[in-house]
């Protein structure tokens, strides 16, 4: 590239120099020609003939005066005019060529000297003084011949001939320089056209691999789709993404990474047909457009071939590697009506291929789109669902093992979607976060929980604390404290009965400000529970700084207790940790009586799970609380120990 650039610059410079020189030469030659033709030839020739003419007229008047006919006044005028003619030839640019002819200077000098010598006699010549007049004429006769010769020479002499020759020569030079002008001008225009086509090529091609780029593809796909529609053929779009390319870059260096991309580009280019196009979309992503396809099968055949070709052994700076790629293919117009959608489909299929181990290529299937469509539909309808109270809260009791009493209730979000049915809280929260509905959703949930609590109080039902889950962005991006303050005020909820559950991961998102955030919440009077504890990576130091009241052990640790041989060491250390930090422990996901026994043995006294109750609707949990009010605990460990089956009051 640099070599080419130097060459280009040098060529350009040369062309410009030739152009400029040709212009200059052409101009100067032209000026010289004009000068020769108009001034020198005309002016010089005129001046020399005038000299001869004035000399003859002066001699003529001399004779006339001598013969008594001419007037002395006229004689003086003619003398002066002749005199002036010598000076005309002596100075000025117009006559420079003539006076430089051989012998010219001498002639002028001698003629002037002669005029000077005869001047007194000319001025004093009287009419009829023939003798003096004749003498004067005689003294001028030698000059008559010389001036005549000079005049003829200025018209026809070697200098004049040279001037004529010079004019023709100049004309030839002008012609040459005009050829130079035309050639260099043409060359300049050609270079301009070439440069503009090069820069157009550059804007549409990838520098590293020389393949068309995304911009090119965007233009070309539309055209190719039109052509396919016209011809009634199919159009295959293959999206190819290298696997583990980042590792190649990280371990072998970016130079090797670039080499790999170039080799992959070469391999892809090597196995496509004459009507197909390979492009690099960016990074390690390539795209192949397969045109004039008759059957969908040939698309998958090409997909397989492309994957195979990429998969061959490759040498990068002496290092042997075995590349692999994930490929997704979608076919226009079979898979979608628009070619843009086909490209998205191919992308989806590629990601599916990447996710499924052992598969290198996937043909797009409609269900791949459903995941995305579902998310879009849910997001669109979630807002309405929140506003129309389509969402409901279910409640799961937290039970004190020993007494079997409900000590608190965790509110859980439920959405029964008219089309998709039950939508899990995880999915709802994820969608709310992705589509910017987190604030609205979280506020709705907290308000709903507070209203439920206030309802129990109003109904005179025994009340326990209610816990609500806060989603990550509510915690990190929005002003949770302000929302809570407003809701507590609106619903007249007693803050100490509200438990805010944040996951360990959520608090880890912004380690620095987490303690502050939580302290502000604590200042409102609410309790704070750390949810899913043990799955995150919080350090003891971080944990110590957080003003939490409760730890909720993640269900996965409880499930571990069901595996034999049992290994309670992790549970034990979590409980030990909680005790040392003076935190209340709640176990999640309790399914078996044995779990309760094991947890009690380790010192955990509270828990929730299917053993006690799944999350139930508002009416059912109210019923449970009423039973408890009447002295009937939800769970009776004694009964179970007596050999009864799992107790779960219907």
């Amino acid at each position: 590239m640099p070599g080419y650039r130097v060459l280009r610059t040098v060529t350009l410079l040369c062309v410009v120099v030739v152009f400029a020189a040709s212009t200059l030469v052409s101009y100067r030659r032209h000026v010289e020609t004009s000068q020769l033709l108009t001034v020198t030839q005309k002016g010089g020739g005129w001046a020399s003939s005038e000299l001869e003419f004035e000399l003859l007229r002066f001699m003529h008047i001399l004779e006339s005066v001598g013969l008594g006919r001419g007037a002395p006044d006229e004689l003086v005028l003619r003398f002066d005019l002749l005199w002036s003619r010598i000076d005309v030839l002596r100075e000025g640019a117009e006559t420079s060529e003539v006076r430089e002819m051989a012998g010219a200077q001498l002639l002028l000098d001698e003629l002037q000297a002669m005029l000077r010598r005869i001047e007194p006699r000319v001025l004093s010549l009287t009419q009829g003084d023939t003798a003096t007049a004749d003498q004067l004429v005689d003294s001028l006769i030698p000059f008559e011949k010389r001036v005549r010769a000079f005049n003829v020479a200025s018209f026809n002499g070697p200098d004049a001939q040279n001037r004529i020759r010079r004019v023709f020569e100049l004309n030839r030079l002008v012609s040459i320089s005009i050829v130079g002008l035309v050639l260099s001008g043409t060359l300049l225009i050609l270079m301009l056209i070439r440069e503009s086509s090069r820069s157009r090529h550059q804007s549409l091609h990838d520098e590293l691999t020389g393949l068309p780029n995304r911009k090119f593809i965007n233009q070309h796909l539309t055209a190719a789709a039109k052509a396919a529609s016209r011809a009634g053929s199919l159009l295959g779009v293959h999206v190819i993404d290298l696997n583990n390319f980042k590792e190649i870059n990280d371990t072998l260096g970016h130079n090797c990474g670039d080499q790999m991309l170039q080799q992959v580009a070469a391999r892809l280019s090597g196995c496509i047909g004459p009507h197909d196009t390979v492009a690099r979309l960016g990074g390690d992503e390539f795209l192949v457009i397969q045109e004039r396809v008759k059957h969908a099968d040939s698309c998958t055949r090409l997909s397989r071939l492309l994957c195979e070709q990429i998969g061959h052994e490759m040498l990068l700076d002496g290092t042997r590697i075995y590349p692999s790629a994930s490929l997704g293919v979608s076919i226009y117009p079979v898979d979608a009506d628009s070619v843009a959608q086909v490209q998205i489909n191919a992308d989806l299929a590629m990601y599916r291929a990447k996710r499924d181990s052992g598969v290198s290529y996937r043909r797009f299937e409609p269900e791949m789109n459903e995941v995305i469509q579902r998310a879009n539909t849910l997001a669109r309808e979630l807002k309405e669902a929140i506003q129309d109270n389509q969402l409901v809260l279910h409640y799961q009791p937290v039970v004190e093992f020993e007494s079997g009493r409900i000590v608190s209730i965790e509110a859980l979000l439920r959405w029964h979607h008219p089309r998709y049915g039950y939508v899990s809280p995880v999915e709802v929260v994820t969608i709310a976060e992705q589509y910017g509905l987190a604030l609205e959703l979280n506020e709705w949930v907290i308000r709903q929980v507070c209203l439920q609590y206030r309802h129990w109080v109003a109904e005179g039902v025994e009340t326990v604390c209610v816990a609500v889950n806060i989603s990550p962005s509510m915690y990190a991006l929005h002003d949770l404290e302000a929302s809570l303050t407003q809701i507590l005020e609106d619903t007249a909820m007693s803050a100490e009965h509200l438990i805010i559950e944040v996951t360990e991961d959520t608090t880890m998102r912004d380690i620095e400000s987490s303690p502050d955030t939580l302290h502000k919440l604590k200042a409102l009077g609410v309790q704070i529970a750390l949810d899913d504890f043990g799955t995150g990576y919080s350090s003891l130091n971080h944990l110590k700084r957080l003003p939490v009241d409760k730890l909720k052990i993640d269900r996965s640790f409880i499930q571990d207790l069901n595996i034999s041989p049992k290994d309670p060491r992790i549970i034990r250390s979590i409980i030990g940790l909680a005790e040392s930090l003076d935190l209340q422990i709640i176990a999640e996901g309790i399914e078996f009586v044995q779990n309760v026994d094991d947890l009690v043995a380790e010192g955990c006294l509270l828990g929730q799970g299917f053993l006690f109750s799944k999350a139930v609707d508002s009416a059912r949990i109210t019923e449970m609380l009423r039973s408890q009010q009447q002295g009937i605990p939800l769970f009776q460990a004694a009964e179970i120990r007596a050999g009864m089956a799992i107790v779960q009051r219907a």
Binding site: V31, S34, T38, V39, K42, G43, E50, E54, L77, D80, L81, W83, S84, D87, V88, E91, G92, A93, E94, T95
Partner: protein
């Protein structure tokens, strides 16, 4: 080529012109150096207006500095503005026939020179010109107002040893 015109004299010319035009033309007292004939209203001899050098020098005098193809180096010409002279003789017409002592002739289109200060020079570099020095009168005007193609034509109209003018 550089032309410089004396601004003061332009104003002076504006003031004097009506006087010069209305006053009857005096007769020359010395040798006649210029005869104007043709389509004119003011005369001092039958059908003609003759001028001696003193008459010409009684007109406002202007300067013009320039180079010419017939001289070496920058020359300073001094003389009468042609348009003022033509006004003084009541000239009607746009073509001027200039004749030299040696019967050289040039036809000058005055319309072409409307924006150019044409001078009848009576002095060159501060001195009167003898016939031997291309005098006594020389038609000059700044040639830098013309293109290279027009220049030769104008240069051949700059008649030296001028003797007479004929208005047509």
């Amino acid at each position: 080529m550089r032309a410089s015109l004396n601004v003061f004299f332009v104003f002076a010319a504006l003031l004097l012109t009506p006087l010069a035009w209305s006053a009857p033309l005096a007769a020359p007292e010395q040798a006649v150096v210029l005869s104007v004939s043709g389509n004119i209203t003011e005369t001092n001899v039958p059908n003609r207006a003759d001028f001696d050098l003193a008459m010409l020098e009684s007109f406002p005098q202007y300067d013009l500095e320039m180079e010419t193809p017939w001289t070496d180096g920058v020359q300073r010409f001094q003389g009468v503005a042609l348009n003022e002279l033509l006004l003084a003789v009541g000239a009607q017409g746009s073509t001027l026939r200039a004749m030299a002592l040696n019967d050289y002739q040039a036809t000058i289109n005055l319309d072409e020179l409307r924006d150019v200060q044409v001078l009848l020079a009576v002095k060159l570099n501060g001195r009167h010109m003898r016939v031997r020095d291309k005098g006594p009168l020389w038609i000059v005007y700044p040639t830098d107002s013309f293109s290279a193609a027009d220049l030769p034509r104008h240069q051949s109209n700059m008649v030296w040893q001028l003797r007479s003018l004929e208005i047509r």
